[in-house]
Symmetry: C2
Subunit: 342 residues, 2 copies
Amino acid sequence: MMQKQWRLAARPEGIPDRSHFSLTDAPIPALQPGKAVAKTLYLGVAPVMLRYMRNETEFESPLALGTVMPGRGVAQIIESNCDSLHVGAIVQARLGWQEYALIDDSDHPAPFLLPTDLPLSHGIGAVSLSGITALVGVRDIGRVAPTDRILVSGAAGGVGSHVAEIAKALGAHEVVGIAGGSAKCARLRHDMAYDHVIDYKNEDVDLALSALFPEGIDLYFDNVGGALLDNVLARLRRRARIVICGSISEYLTEAENKHHFINLQNLGRQDAKMEGFFVFDYQDSYPQCLHQLATWVREGALNPVEDISHGIETLPDALADLYLGNNVGVRMVEVGQPDLPL
Amino acid sequence: MMQKQWRLAARPEGIPDRSHFSLTDAPIPALQPGKAVAKTLYLGVAPVMLRYMRNETEFESPLALGTVMPGRGVAQIIESNCDSLHVGAIVQARLGWQEYALIDDSDHPAPFLLPTDLPLSHGIGAVSLSGITALVGVRDIGRVAPTDRILVSGAAGGVGSHVAEIAKALGAHEVVGIAGGSAKCARLRHDMAYDHVIDYKNEDVDLALSALFPEGIDLYFDNVGGALLDNVLARLRRRARIVICGSISEYLTEAENKHHFINLQNLGRQDAKMEGFFVFDYQDSYPQCLHQLATWVREGALNPVEDISHGIETLPDALADLYLGNNVGVRMVEVGQPDLPL
């Protein structure tokens, strides 16, 4: 039995496209002792993948040309020699860009079971790492408080699309989001619980920030970095918190176009905090976070916006969409359907 | 009975000097209900005072010309109508630049009692706010760990002079300090427990940092800001912490000479944290901190370096020394002697 896999074919300089990958056939893996065979249902894409492709990160082992692209997704266990992964289980795991994967529970982070009463696609987004990222960022790094004036950049993105709802579930009154384009901004307002939206493609961001935050910003959930971060630094209130979740603007331009920050000293002036974080460092709190996120989805407090394309063939385009700003909500690919009852 | 007081006479543009103050005579205050009369023994100076003088801070009420300069110090209670401040007690309190002050325990932060088995001058420095600042910064903000590679700027200053000893008392193995001038650097090594010293006036700081931190920096206790902070940002290890304690270089030049930071995105890249803090926000932990600091002094783990001039007349020079970089250790002025037995 054969399956399809996407392998790294070339290292991209700018935005990755199909030419950087090759779609190949390979046998479906045979079961091994202590392992399980997982059938891929959904695969996610993440900005950091460009770093893997460029071999720039220390978090993954070097990604040689010809390797199956790494990536996490939702899968159903179809064969198992692993006590913790029973046949039929729906798991979130490191699968790679392929239709079937051989996995085990010694992986790091370990595969985790997903609730089956929710849409399985949530196992890519809200009830998975992007939800945990938003929750850890807002609650543990950002320490959101009810009176906070909150700004979120990249608000339509995979993480940003959850932030307003999560902040409100934690007691926040009002959240402002920034995104590019009127269609995205409409989605922010209607589907993602943002109270005010700044369209950076069609508005003067500086004027809009002054109008929306006349007394400054308490909590900034930063998904973009760069000039906007510098602008926010100038607007910090006392004991403000900046959560640096990602800087997609810098993945593409870091070598040639470093932003010169002129307002950094305001961090000390305002006794404020700026903190980058990597969700894999918070694995101890995954079970608690997943339980909380699933509960909010069931209660209707969290209504994930997902941006799903169908077929493993669409994976390179799904990844490119992140850097092109084409996605609204959590971008993912539906690769297969469960074979066994849930 | 008369006393001497220093009043603000003019707002300084650059480094404050005697011309910005006037030394005046005033009556020693009479006791009032609920209050106590304190005789000033030591007064401290702090970089932030320049902001008070320029009326730039929101932490103090506006400082009108002609007002007695605010400032904290060590005093003995000589008359009291206040239950918590008994006659003879040695306290750390907001006294102002004067020989006698009327104080009460509703002040914010409240006066606190000092141990009398230690040199009373420590009530300005190590067993007081500069010690607490170093301790909160290293322990609570910096979360020092035994394996941390640690750098301290402004290491000869009032706070920096305590940092290496405190970090080691908390388990650190090695601490590197930066200061200006060979005499100061010798004191860092011999009297302040710094293992390695960089003399920024006589060395290439960039080369020295590369030599001393070949694998990067885990914890940076920043007392200066500016270009050095930017250099450190480029050298962060994973999950590094930058404690922004003060930026004395920026008190003098903020309007005209903002540093352009080019390495800020490394904070997100390395999942690092940069946090400014104001010790007054940590009042709940003052008692625990003071107990810890006094214990370390008694045990010989903390050996405060103090830089004391004698006579209230020397206060403007003491303050100027901070910006001129003339002080080694905690700069303070001895204003009087206790009248009553301790």
